[in-house]
Structure formats: structure tokens, C-alpha cells
Amino acid sequence: MLGRLASTRLQEIRRIFTQPSSVRSLSTALNYHIDSPENNPELPWEFSDVNKEKAKEILSHYPSNYKQSAVIPLLDLAQQQHGGWLPVSAMNAVAKVIEVAPIRVYEVATFYSMFNRTKVGKYHLLVCGTTPCMIRGSRDIESALLKHLGVKRNEVTKDGLFSVGEMECMGCCVNAPMITVADYSNGSEGYTYNYYEDVTPERVVEIVEKLRKGEKPPAGTQNPKRIKGGPEGGNTTLLSEPKPPPCRDLDAC
């Protein structure tokens, strides 16, 4: 009896899984390092002089015996300096600055998906894949981008300009779907991280083409009928002056 029960359950499960499953893979980044000519511990890596000052400023936020608190800002700085990704030697450099064992930095860098440990394009396009954006068609946007650029996810185009990644919710659900463009073309000084909201598969291709030409497409919502996060076509509620809240009796608190 149990056997039958189990086999029917198994069949049910199989049915669910034989449905064309999406191309989504869960995690693509490896959690270990493989030496390559462009990423190995022997390569020298150092903060640039400007960034050394910045690093000093970041470290000054923390007590001198809690330097390891600066690991995330420093990794971010290193990533901006190194064109959007962290080679193992950059992590070692950060470990040296904050005086911890390198493995402690690797742990942090592998934990956060925002730290790229493989090469990315100068423009790293991050498509939001969380529920509201997904419902509003983020998968189509991603496939449009991938098709237009002719790459797979987390792959860099041949000219080294673009790569597409996925990110979880970036808090822009009101204007879903959205993509983020992390611009590493100008190093850490000219680094920008812009949201492009209300995108459509056509619009993202236009954005990519503009970026390719070196233009800076206006960030924010791409829906001309919308002002920032407001509703399309102007406000529909809160049309009158907002009423002040009834005064609370503060003494009663």
C-alpha cells in the first residue's frame, strides 16, 4: 500500500518536473577559485593612489582593532577599481589592509552575489528577477538582452563591453520590471550604478545600443507617462492637499 502511495506521489512529482523547466540555473558562480592567466594569486594587485586615500577614509570609520568591519566597502572599492570584478589577488590585498586571513575575505566575497569573482563587461547589466519584476516580464527582458548581445548569462560579450547578470530585488518594484547598469568603464571615480525602470524588451535593447555608443541614457523610469515612481498619467489619488493627521495627545503617551 505504501509502495503504491509512494509511486503515485513520485509520478505526480515527475509530471511537475517534466514540464519545460525554465532555463534558470540557481547559482552559476563557483565557490572555489581556479587559477587562470588573468586571475591567480601571483598577479600583483594594489589599490590605486586615489583609492588608497579612500580606503583610509573607509577604515577611519572603524576602531583600529575592528578593521575587518571594512571588508565590504573595501571589496566594493576594489571591484570598482578592477573593472567590476574581484580577482583573487584583489581579495588578498583587501585581506592585507584589514589584517585578517584571506579566507575571511573570500567568505564574504563568495557570500554576496554583488561581488563578481569572474570577469564582467564594462557595463554590467543586472536584471531584477524577483517576483514583482518577474510577473511584469523580467524574463522576457533578460532573454531580449541575451539575444541581442548574443551571450549567455554571466558571459561577457566579445568586445568586453557588456555582460548580463541577475540580481534579486533592488527595491524598485513600483516601476517593475527594471534593470540596473553598473558602469565600470571609468574606474572607481566615474563609477555609476543606475536603475532603468519600466523597461520593455525593446527599450533595453535601445539602452544597450546607446551605452555602446558611449551615450548616457537617462536613468530612472523609461515610461514617458510616468513621473518617477508616480502613477502613469498623473496622480489618481491624493489629489487634494493632504489632511494633517489628528494631533495626538503626546502627554498621554
Binding site: 576602531p63 583600529s64 582593532n65 575592528y66
Partner: protein
């Protein structure tokens, strides 16, 4: 044989058991003789009544598995004697007590093991049982304040 064994065990369990008996020889002189209680009556070969054994309590495994078997006492018969089967060349223990100590005998307490050894007339030594020491540990220690920064590094 079986009855004599049983007899021996009931005797061993009785509280008024005395391990020394006073035998009077013909010359009326009292001679104190130590006789292993089980030994004589059980038919155990005499060479096994004069063994040296070690009483110990097996340590908890280092891999921190369950503690069910911890705290029991065992007897190590110090037997490493092996015997090779001349026909097949298999090696087996050359001592009937080897597996008794390893697998068969466990005691709830050191005293029980001592008594058992005494009963058999074995010359025993007892190994100290090592127990863990519980110290106060706290999860919060992971986040303990490291103290003020060293001034010279300022």
C-alpha cells in the same frame, strides 16, 4: 559443570562473601590462603586464574557520538596472542579471553569489575577514568567586545 558455575556466581553475588578462608591444616596451624572463588570450582584452566588484567573505562569516542556506552567498565586481558590456522593460514586469537574482554564483559561500576577480577583471582590494575570538564561557554563570546583600540595604532 554448569551447576558449579551457577553455584560460583551465586556465591559471588552473596553479600557475606568472604574472599579469604581459613583452612586448618593437620598440624592445627591456621594458614591464611587466598582462593579465587570462581577459580577452583568452575574448571577454568589454572593458567587463566593467574592472569594480569587491566580494568578500565572506555573513553568516549573523539567524534562525540552518543554517550550510551560511556561510563561502563571493561577488562583488558592484555592478550595479543594470535594463532594461525595451519590448514588455511587464517589468523585468530590464541587466547580464549581476548574476545571476552573486548566484547563480552562490561560492568556498571569499577567495584563490580574489581570484584569480578578478584573472584577469578586475577592480578588487576585499575586505570583512572578520564572525564570531561564542563566550562561555561557562551554564544555571545563570538561577539565579545575586543576592548579599546591600542593607542599607538591611532
Amino acid at each position: 559443570m554448569a551447576s558449579s558455575l551457577r553455584h560460583g556466581f551465586t556465591k559471588a553475588r552473596s553479600p557475606i562473601l568472604s574472599r579469604t578462608r581459613w583452612l586448618s591444616s593437620e598440624s592445627q596451624a591456621l594458614v591464611e590462603t587466598r582462593i579465587p572463588d570462581v577459580g577452583i570450582i568452575s574448571g577454568i584452566p589454572e593458567q587463566h586464574l593467574k592472569r594480569r588484567v587491566v580494568i578500565y573505562s572506555p573513553a568516549r569516542t573523539a567524534s562525540q557520538q552518543g554517550s550510551g556506552k560511556v561510563g561502563k567498565w571493561k577488562i583488558n586481558f592484555l592478550s595479543t596472542q594470535k594463532w594461525e590456522n595451519p590448514l588455511m593460514g587464517w589468523t585468530s586469537t590464541g587466547d580464549p579471553y581476548a574476545n571476552v574482554g573486548e566484547a563480552a564483559l562490561t560492568f556498571e561500576s569499577e567495584e563490580a569489575a574489581r570484584e569480578f577480577a578478584e573472584k577469578h583471582g586475577w592480578d588487576y590494575t585499575v586505570r583512572k577514568r578520564h572525564t570531561p570538564l564542563l566550562r561555561v561557554k557562551s554564544y555571545a563570546d563570538n561577539f565579545k567586545w575586543k576592548g579599546l583600540p591600542k593607542s599607538e595604532e591611532e
